[in-house]
């Protein structure tokens, strides 16, 4: 290393200011802490905006309410997709990347000034895209398929946002290098940080794909390029559009391990197995993007089947491993704490009154049962034909992104507010209720949209009735489809109440929460059986047991549901074109 570089490192170390977290004993770089706070606040603001748009969408799709005009519906639907699928999620993921690197590794953060440049680009980009949509000439949906053309600042905003997020990814990688150089940890990085690394890697691919397609689309929108091939656009866009949701999966699985470790002291059943499951994500998860193109005639069956049925199942295997090892690690920790009676005492006596734990476990169950199983159905080329472009698709991704990711991120907030903002959660009784309200509402949205989709109701359609007065070929869905849409609307109201409660609690806690100090630091994290933050968060190590009868029963229940639902769909397929 050159003398200049050594001096620069030395100055960097001297200039870094740390505080010691009274709950965890970790050294927290104050520059990293400020970046985490800024990104988390921006995330919550965009969740509030995007969630409100989502409620308006659901109330319009409810035939008895049918709130918005068609023009407003498509405008609001575009804004809803952008604000929650990209802005809320990726701002929060930036906070997670900085937390999982600088805080968990007790390291100084790499290039914090660049972190602020990235944050500023993301804010400017996010606002620019929102302005473009709200001006009314860019109602092109989240997918913005060409030849639908938005205003140039719609694409430019997305590009700026992506560049900002990319800077955040490289700061995360740089922090890993610094932590290793300065020996702030020994051996391998902790599992939570490894999960965040997986999210970062997928983010780099996602953002690069976005740049490849959005830069020429921006040039097309300003007239420098005459034509964008529609199928190529779809192909490359989905490498960004679907992979951005795979960043979520990796990030929220890392959050599951983090919350299980903090709240009940859960160590992974096997570090090697959990890391290998993340490795399966790194290799194969992004390829699931292909399931959006399964009915495109221009792509071969070989390409479709290799990308979805073969490779995607290896990523699904990774998710199923996490789906077993997270509850398994909780069971192992709870049994070690003395909850050994019967098969499920460990689960009954889990800290359900802690919103972080409750949100995490609900996220785990609903992501697996609703999002995971429906994802495999959509990824099967033959079955996909029944649900393609129906409401089943948003039903599936509301199960993964809302009940899975959003609920996990909300759960993490109940730890981040006391640990990073150093404020106690206000209204603890309402906070206990919040994950259940939001989780139940989000699960209802997913189930009823998938139900309507199974009946053939089209996605992205302002009106599900096609009366003879309006259309040339009138068509009516079965009456139960209207019931499904009504129940979807009611579920959206419930989820909106849960979401509003989350925002009120979060903002209220940051502004008015009691200050966290050494005397109340652990109590501020909510009810926890051991009343300490276990070193499982930061240290490499296995639980050391496979005596997990309760987890095996839960896994058996999952597989039974999976197999039954999978074959029910094949039966539906056999009835689609009956032999006469």
């Amino acid at each position: 290393m050159s003398t200049a570089a050594t001096e620069s490192d030395y100055i960097g170390r001297l200039a870094t200011k740390f505080r010691t977290c009274p709950a965890t004993g970790l050294k927290v770089d104050l520059a990293a802490e400020r970046l985490i706070k800024a990104n988390a606040v921006a995330a919550v603001v965009f969740l509030m905006i995007g969630g409100t748009f989502g409620l308006l969408v659901a109330l319009t799709r409810w035939p008895a309410v049918h709130l918005l005009s068609s023009d407003m519906f498509y405008l609001v639907l575009t804004a809803h997709g952008l604000d929650v699928l990209l802005l809320w999620i990726i701002f929060f993921e930036m906070a997670i990347l900085y937390f999982a690197s600088a805080v968990i590794l007790s390291s100084r953060i790499a290039a914090p000034r660049w972190g602020w440049v990235g944050f500023a680009l993301m804010v400017v980009g996010g606002l620019m895209t929102n302005v473009a949509v709200l001006q009314g000439d860019s109602s092109v949906m989240f997918t913005s398929y060409v030849p639908l053309k938005a205003q140039p600042h719609f694409y430019l905003g997305l590009i700026l946002f992506a560049v900002g997020a990319l800077i955040g990814c490289f700061i995360f990688l740089g922090t890993l290098v610094i932590a290793k150089e300065e020996k702030t940890y020994e051996g391998s990085i902790p599992l939570v940080t490894f999960g965040a690394l997986t999210a970062c890697i997928i983010a780099v691919f996602t953002i690069a794909s976005g740049a490849i397609i959005l830069i020429p689309t921006f040039l097309w929108s300003v007239g420098y390029i005459a034509n964008i091939d529609t199928l190529t656009y779809k192909l490359v866009w989905w490498a960004m559009g679907h992979s951005s949701q795979q960043i979520n999966v990796s990030a929220h699985v890392a959050i599951w391990y983090l919350i299980a470790a903090v709240t009940v002291g859960a160590k992974p059943l096997s570090e090697k197995v959990s890391r290998t499951a993340f490795l399966l994500y790194i290799f194969f998860l992004q390829l699931a993007s292909a399931h959006h193109l399964l009915v495109e005639p221009g792509l071969s069956s070989e390409w479709k089947i290799v990308n979805t049925s073969y490779m995607m199942y290896l990523a699904v295997l990774g998710s199923m491993i996490h789906g077993m090892t997270v509850p398994g690690s909780i069971e192992a920790a709870q049994r070690k704490s003395g909850y050994t009676r019967g098969v499920f005492e460990w689960l009954r006596k889990a800290p359900w009154g802690n919103p972080a734990f409750a949100g995490m476990f609900l996220s785990l169950v609903m992501f697996g049962f609703l999002g995971g199983i429906s994802g495999v159905i959509l990824g099967t080329e033959q079955l996909n034909i029944m649900m393609h472009n129906t409401l089943y698709v948003p039903g599936h991704f509301h199960a993964t992104v809302v009940t899975g990711t959003t609920l996990a991120f909300m759960a993490a907030t109940y730890l981040i507010v006391p640990l990073i903002f150093q404020r106690q959660i206000i209204w603890p009784k309402l906070a206990r209720l919040q994950p259940y309200l939001f989780g139940l509402g989000a699960a209802g949205i997913s189930v009823f949209m998938m139900g309507a989709g199974t009946l053939g109701v089209a996605r992205r359609h302002w009106d599900i009735t096609f009366p003879a007065s309006d259309v040339i070929l009138p068509y009516g869905y079965p009456p139960i489809a209207s019931l499904m849409m009504g129940l979807n609307g009611l579920s959206a109201i419930l989820a909106a109440i849960g979401g509003a409660l989350y925002i009120a609690i979060t903002v209220g806690s940051i502004l008015f929460g009691k200050k966290v100090d050494a005397t109340n630091a652990v109590a501020s994290l909510g009810p926890m059986p051991k009343k300490i933050v276990h070193e499982a968060v930061t240290k490499y190590g296995d639980a050391g047991t496979w005596h997990l009868p309760g987890t095996y029963v839960l896994v058996g229940l999952f597989f039974t549901t999976f197999i039954l639902y999978y074959f029910v769909n094949w039966k539906y397929l056999s009835e689609l074109w009956p032999m006469q």
């Binding site: 690394l197 997986t198 970062c200 890697i201 691919f205 490795l279 992004q286 193109l293 221009g298 290799v306």
Partner: protein, 57 residues
Amino acid sequence: MVEKPKPESAAAPLERIPFMQRLLDNPFLLLFIGVVVPTVIYILWGVMEITQIPLAK
């Protein structure tokens, strides 16, 4: 007869780190894999198929 103490390096030879652990501990190699695999299997293969679609006349 008293055995001579062995030098430390001979007493505890460095254990060879398994390949999988070396892979999992190398974030930049993982980054390379995570970008190249989907780029080749999903994007490049897909674009090659699209370019072979005959143009309508």
